[in-house]
């Protein structure tokens, strides 16, 4: 069991998303393509990674807002499937993610005789968000304290440390892995947490996976070795 004390405590941070409407909107798939090319990177983030913060109580059926709109409002299931399968966590940067989304829509349109458009649904309205950070609870200095804090914090903290930190704040390993590796000298546990697939699941499920890995580490050396992903 790890009983080391961290040099710097881990501070859990929850977050609130303040949504902002943008002037961009799309009424057909070609407009979606054009607006996707121009929209701020923060908007690409909001409609892809942010999907997991907003949709936590309900199954994330489409993986991102673009796929959801194409499926529900344009009713183009083919493009919806192709967009839904894009895992935003696999793109190194938001510009890479934008390029992937754009190329999928572009390729899809090349194969169609006419551009699918909204007939009975609603246009796609581009948005972006401002994240307001909220420090939660006392800092954790041991793995046991980290485990206790993680079990209690608001689910938005899971999003902040696993998604926001990686994608928008440039901490590629995520805050949990970075702290466990840097402050508690637990590189194996850090790597397993880093490998957790946060795509197409809920924040509570991600929390449960991190907790099970931490529990295994707390129980003893060698315990819990294996894949950190689902």
């Amino acid at each position: 069991m790890s009983d080391a004390t961290a040099r710097a405590p881990f501070q859990f941070i929850g977050c609130v998303e303040l949504r902002q409407a943008l002037d961009h909107r799309a009424t057909d798939e070609r407009e979606l393509l054009e607006r996707l090319e121009d929209a701020p990177a923060g908007s690409v983030f909001y409609h892809t990674h942010g999907y997991f913060l907003r949709h936590r109580p309900i199954t994330t059926a489409y993986g991102n807002d673009f796929a959801a709109w194409v499926a529900v409002h344009v009713r183009d299931q083919v493009l919806a499937e192709r967009l839904a399968v894009i895992n935003p966590f696999e793109s190194a940067t938001l510009e890479d993610l934008r390029e992937e989304l754009v190329s999928v829509v572009h390729d899809h349109l090349l194969r169609l005789p006419s551009v699918p458009r909204v007939e009975f649904g609603e246009p796609f309205h581009f948005q972006q968000s401002h994240i307001v950070e909220v420090p939660l609870g006392p800092g954790a200095t041991t793995l046991a304290e980290f485990r206790a804090g993680l079990a209690e914090v608001d689910a938005s903290a899971i999003y902040f440390h696993m998604v926001e930190a990686r994608t928008r704040l440039g901490r590629r390993s995520g805050d949990f892995a970075e702290w466990l590796r840097g402050s508690l000298d637990l590189p194996d546990l850090a790597e397993r947490i880093e490998r957790i697939d946060a795509y197409m699941t809920s924040l509570e499920r991600v929390r449960a996976r991190v907790l099970s890995l931490v529990d295994a580490a707390l129980e003893g050396p060698g315990a819990g070795v294996g894949s950190g992903s689902a």
């Binding site: 303040l18 949504r19 939660l136």
Partner: protein, 397 residues
């Protein structure tokens, strides 16, 4: 008195702690709401719950209302209607008077605050008298995406003087030179309209209303106007009635306008020929009755063809009911298709989904439970408090 702590038993875990942490960052800051009145539904209903809670959280929260003469109120009403796209006559004299009355209001009201949130049309031109200090936000609770040109040309220069605007949905907005934030409205789960209610109390209220509970109840709550399409609901019910022995309850307020009177007369005629159609004209403060009806319902319908945000769907979901809703206003943003209910485009679609649910009772339970959790996360006043505090932090950094 209800405090923020009371919401721990209804809000998602951790939410109240998040709210308290947010409030610590703005403790003592003055947050002023200004609206056209304290009564009725919509913005006033939310403020009646939110302002005391914001004060309980340690912010210096207060709520002022603008006053005026009958010409002021009728002009503001006409301006609101034209902002929503309805054709009305707006004379230069009436608009000048409306602006002048708000100039007088500005002198009477204490408008110095860290954040001033001005709600809807009546107080909108107060911005012309804003003090030097403080940030000002225009909170619009209705859909102004397609206003009459004259109304927009008049109000837009005022709106652009604000620091930001807040709309209920992105599709309700129109281009402005200021940032436009999106904050959905919310329901108060501890109010008479939404609080838990024992089955005995539900049964007693329904007896009082003359609504038997001997068969499944299909319910629509809403104004008796063409916008809420109660006649379409009757037609959908007739298609369902061929296969299921159900009762239709239409509950709402009438109002004195011609179209409302005509709609109500047609509904009463339909009810006269079918004892399983119950039309209840309720007073505006019939919160307990609406609560009981929604809890007694098997399925809640909100078949609007024109709608603002339409919080009736959120109220029904909070009571664990699946919702069959028209694709109008905010309804398609509240009802998660095939998860918490269905959105429909026609009378036939409404009937089809009602039959589909009645034929699959396990779906009614499953969607009802999903709806309650969806409402808990997305449409309770705890979420609105979170958004207001985030807005206060963001704009007064």
């Amino acid at each position: 008195m209800i405090t923020v702590d009371d919401y721990r038993r209804v809000a998602p875990p951790g939410t109240v702690d998040m709210i308290m942490r947010l409030a610590e960052r703005v403790r003592g800051r003055r947050l002023l709401h200004v609206s056209g009145g304290r009564f009725g539904s919509g913005a006033a209903e939310a403020l009646r719950a939110a302002v005391p809670l914001l004060a309980d959280l340690g912010t210096d929260a207060s709520w002022e209302i603008t006053g005026g003469d009958p010409v002021f109120y009728s002009t503001a009403g006409a301006l609101r209607a034209t902002m929503e796209g309805t054709e009305r006559v707006l004379t230069d004299e009436a608009l000048d008077h409306y602006v002048e009355m708000n100039r007088v209001n500005a002198k009477k009201l204490r408008l110095d605050a860290d954040l001033v949130v001005v709600h809807d049309v009546e107080p909108a031109t107060l911005i012309a008298q804003r003090p030097e200090q403080g940030r000002w936000v225009w909170r619009c609770s209705f859909d102004c995406a397609r206003p009459q040109r004259r109304a927009w040309a008049f109000l837009r220069p005022y709106l652009n003087q604000y620091d930001a605007a807040v709309f209920s949905l992105p599709k309700f907005t129109r281009r402005l030179s200021i940032p436009r934030y999106v904050v959905a409205p919310a329901i108060d789960p501890l109010s008479d309209k939404n609080r838990d209610m024992p089955l005995r109390e539900v049964a007693a209220i329904l007896r009082g209303l003359g609504v038997p509970q001997d068969r499944p109840i299909l319910l629509q709550v809403g104004a008796f106007t063409p916008a809420e399409d109660p006649l379409g609901v009757v037609n959908a019910y007739r298609l369902v009635k061929k296969h299921y022995n159900v009762r239709l309850v239409l509950a709402g307020t009438g109002g004195g306008e011609r179209e409302s009177v005509e709609t109500l007369a047609e509904l009463r005629q339909a009810a006269a020929h079918d004892r399983d159609i119950v039309v209840l004209e309720l007073p505006p403060d019939a919160d307990l009755q609406i609560n009981a009806l929604q809890r007694a319902a098997t399925i809640v319908i909100q078949k609007s063809v024109r709608e603002g945000f339409g919080l009736g769907a959120a109220e029904a979901m909070w009571k664990g009911k699946p919702v069959v809703a028209g694709v109008a206003g905010g309804l398609s943003h509240q009802v998660v298709y095939d998860v918490t209910g269905y959105t429909v485009h026609s009378v036939e679609g409404t009937a089809f989904r009602l039959r589909h649910l009645l034929n699959n009772p396990e779906l009614i339970a499953r969607m009802g439970a999903a709806g309650r959790e969806h409402a808990r996360r997305s449409f309770l006043i705890t979420r609105l408090l979170t958004d207001y505090l985030a807005l206060l932090i963001h704009l007064t950094r």
